[in-house]
Each structure stands twice: as C-alpha cells, then as structure tokens.
C-alpha cells in the first residue's frame, strides 16, 4: 500500500545534470521493490502544479532510506535539483509494479540495459539480484561520458559482474549506441532475462533484439503522469491483455511490462 509522506532529504550527490538524492523515509523503504517509483512534489505551491515520477534507485530497510536518481531536463527536475539535505519534500510511494525476479536463481545470468537516467531502477534491481547471488551484466549507455555518472558506484559496489559502457561520442567505453554493443554480444546460454529502461527508441531496439534472441525481457516504461496512483487515467499505453491490446495505466499495472505485452509501434 502506498503512502503520502513528508520525507527529509538525507543526502545528495550530483554530477552535472544528474542527481542522486537519498530520503529518510522508513515507511516507504519498508515496502519498496525495484521498478517501483515515487511521485515527488518538487515545489510546495507549484509551478509545476503536478508531482513528478521517479523510479526508486535504491531502498534500504534497515537505514529507513530510499533514493532517486534523476536527470535535470525541465522545470520540475530543475527545482528538485535545488533541494539540500535537511529539507523536507512530499512523496507518494512506493507506486506501481516492479520487476519480477523472485523466480530467478543461481546460476542465472541477467542483462540489465540502461540508457542515461534509465539506469535508475536498474541500479536498485542490481543490488537485489546480487543479494540473490545472480550474475548481472549491465549495459549502460549515454550520449557522452557525463551521461554515465553511476558507473563508478556500480563498480565500487560490485553490482555488475560485467559492466559494459557505451557513449555515442566515444568519450567512454564503446563508441556508439548501447544497442549496437548489445547486438554484437554473444549471448551466454545462462542468460535468463533482460531488464531494460531508457529512451523509447532504445527500448524499442532492445525489444527487437530480445525477440530475435527469444529472451524474456521486462521494460520500465514512461508516460506523463497526472497522479501516479491510478485515478486520472492519463498515463495509458497500449498493452496486450489476453488476446488484444488495451489502454492500460502505466502507473498502476506498470511501469514495468513484459516485452511481448508492449505495443512498440502503431502497426503492431
């Protein structure tokens, strides 16, 4: 069950336009799972009027903390980036349905594929997968070097058995799209599933590859959200339910969906 709380900012790290903010929020930490998100009131009185959704990038039950990792792209994220530790902010969460990984077991190998800020939910997921002793291969791509700020934390915390980086300008890791790298990947027979979050075009390309490889995959989708908790019906997307596509609320039945349920283009 999700909650509406006032949380105190405990810590804040930043790299250019990217921010990692930790909140003291034991009520949410107790319930959180990777792939879920929170709705954040970035400005007490607005503008913007509405909350903004951010995936959980971490949650620690013992510490009673949760964290988000976000990129500054517009008004809301700009305001959010200005808060300092000690300040309070209103959160609703945890919301939505996260990744399914409970049925995965050693010696399974998982591909986590994140583009830019899309690394956020995967960063949390990787922690959980490593706790279960699974092998985690992380593909982390961006336009340029500065779009991959979590690479050091991923390495330091040993969240990836293999960390593959790619930048479009070649400033770090492979030069090109992360999907180019992925395409050249020789899939291990132990590969069990992929977890994906990133820009729409990237996710679409990954979905194609997974289909080709016949590998199960889960995608964390985005949509502009009016409420985040299922009352406005504003965040819908075409998702397969039974035999047909329906307009399904991302915030309620997602944001994580299986590859084969997602309608990737008008033609499908």
């Amino acid at each position: 069950m999700s909650q509406l709380i006032e949380a105190v900012i405990k810590d804040k790290k930043s790299w250019g336009d990217y921010f990692f903010v930790t909140f003291q929020a034991p009520e949410l930490a107790a319930l959180a799972a990777p792939g879920q998100f929170v709705m954040v009131k970035v400005s007490p009185k607005g503008p913007p009027l509405l909350r903004r959704p951010f995936s959980l990038a971490s949650a620690d039950r013992e510490e009673g903390t949760i964290a988000i990792f976000f990129q500054r792209v517009g008004l809301g994220t700009n305001l959010l980036s200005r808060y300092s530790p000690g300040e309070k902010i209103s959160l609703i969460g945890p919301l939505g349905r996260g990744f399914s990984f409970e049925d995965l077991a050693f010696p399974g190998e998982l591909l986590l594929i994140g583009g830019g800020r899309g690394i956020a939910p995967l960063y949390y997921l990787a922690q959980k997968l490593k706790e279960r002793g699974l092998k985690v291969i992380i593909f982390y791509g961006g336009k340029t070097q500065s779009d991959l700020p979590l690479r050091e934390a991923l390495a330091k915390k040993k969240l990836a058995d293999k960390l593959i980086l790619a930048t479009e300008d070649g400033s770090l890791g492979f030069k090109g799209l992360i999907t180019d790298v992925l395409e050249q990947e020789v899939l291990s027979p132990l590969a069990k599933k992929a977890f994906v979050c990133g820009p729409e075009a990237m996710m679409k390309k990954v979905a194609e590859l997974l289909r080709r490889w016949n590998l199960p995959g889960e995608f964390s989708l985005e949509a502009f959200m009016g409420c985040g908790f299922g009352v406005c019906w504003g965040c819908v997307r075409w998702i397969k339910r039974g035999q047909e596509y329906q307009l399904v609320r991302i915030c309620q039945e997602g944001p994580v969906f299986s590859r084969e349920d997602i309608k990737w283009s008008e033609e499908e």
Binding site: L4, L49, S90, W233
Partner: protein
Amino acid sequence: MVDLSVDLGFIRLSNPIFTASGTCGYGLEMIPFLELKKLGGVVVKGLYFEPRQGNPPPRLVETTAGLLNAIGLPGIGVEAFAREVLPQLHQQQATVIVNVCGNTDDEYERVVRYLDDHPGIAFYELNISCPNVKEGGQCPALDARATFRIVSRVKKATQRPIMTKLSPNVTDITIIARAAEEAGSDALSLVNTFLGLAVDVETGQPKLANVWGGLSGPAIKPLALRMVYQVVQTVKVPVVGIGGIVTGYDALEFLAVGAKAVEVGTANFVNPRVTLQIIDELQNFCQKKQLSRIEDYIGSFRPRREKQKT
C-alpha cells in the same frame, strides 16, 4: 464541534466536500490515502453502459496552474462497476455518486436503468458536459434543448435523484441551468472543464493526441466561481460548485456564493488527502467565526457593487 452537514433537499450529507468525477478513479484507488466515508460524497469516474478504452495517449498536458486532459472517458461499463466496484464502495461506507455518460440519449437511460437495480448509490451526476468525446468539444450541455431532452428522459427513467453537470463553454450558463432544472434535475453541478489547446511548437503538432482537451485546476477557479454564482442566482435546486478548488479558502468562496457543496478535482492528483484537509479547514474556519453550522455560511456573499463613476 461544528456541524458541517449540508442538505441537498433529497439527501443530507455529512459534509460538503466531494471528490470530483474522473479525479478519484472508482474511489477504491483512494483508499490508501483516505477513508472514503469521511467525504461528503465520492463521485466516481464517468460510466457508459459498455466498457470503453477512451482516447489514445498523450492524454494530459500540464499548463500554468492548470491541467489539460483528453482522457475520453475510458471505463469498465455498468456491469463490471455494479459487480466489482459497488460492493467494495458499500463496504467502505462511501456516499457514492455515479457520473453517468452516454453516446446517445438512449445510453444515458440504459445506464441509470441498469444501476437503479443496484443498491449503494446515493444519486447520479449526469455528465452532459465532457469536452473530450466529440470533435471540437461538442456536448449536450452547450445547448438548452439538448440538455432539456436528456435530463427529462433520464429523470423519467430513474428512481434516484439526478444532478446535472454543466459545461462552462457557453455564453450564458443560466439558460442551460434553467433548462436542466425545468427538465426535473434535482441538483446542478458545475463546472466541467474548459475547452483548450496546447501546441508543441517544435513539431507543430498538438500536445494531446485528441487535439483538444479540457482545462481544470487553479487556473479556472475565478471563472468557475463566477458561473456558480450566476447559476445559484437563477435556479431553486441546490448547486454543487466545481473548479480549481485546492484549499478550504477556495471551497469557502464557492459556499459563500451559495453552492451547497463542492467537488475537488485536479487537486487530488497533487495531494490525495486534500479533501480531508479542506474538511479540517472548514471546521477551523467555522470555529473561528463562531458558526455552529456550515449551512449558516452558505450563501453569505453580499455583492455590494460600488456605484460606478464614468
């Protein structure tokens, strides 16, 4: 303790604060945040007879202090509603108001006839004012005759009281209000959303897949308040005010001009407990003003127009 209950004539409600249709889902989605029985009423999402998908996405655009929506009334239809939702709302002891929709006069009638057979509904809100279904915001509430026709027909078809929800996209809302009253509407609620547009200047495309959308939120409050006041001055049936309400102060403005109750819409998205806060603020206001009943405040607006100097 202040008595916040209000009398709509056909029903007395514990307080004048409702959640507005389309902004609290079927009510059940709000349960993590509030006890539904604490609300004066819960107006559930617009219901057609059949299930519907609604409009394609994107369905929402944020504007300055407003929200433009073109949801297009997706829904589960009356059957699933009566079977799956109503019993749960009943268990929560919610005062349920069903927002009734139809593509045709006939469909409105079928919806109420079907629902009349099911207990647990306090009354109906007749949604003849959604701007997001027909091209260019067309809806019956833009026309007095269409309003009269649908309201009369629904009135005859149901045992329950009906409240007709009016559109603000008209020159003179009192004409439509009077038509609804004459057709037998037991109450009126207003306003639904204002027809608006937003353009993505980079692509030259509309920001909403449906092109048009309905504007709600704090931006529209002064316009909604004006219309509620005009309608209160015109009709005898109770009026429920809607539009941009976020605080107890906002609710009081509507009550002052004579609304017997108010519905809170977009504000629920920002703060799902906002309705309970508003109820608290009404309590405190009455205490401060030494009013023992909120009904003593309703209609207290005294518009003294200063003599104009030209």
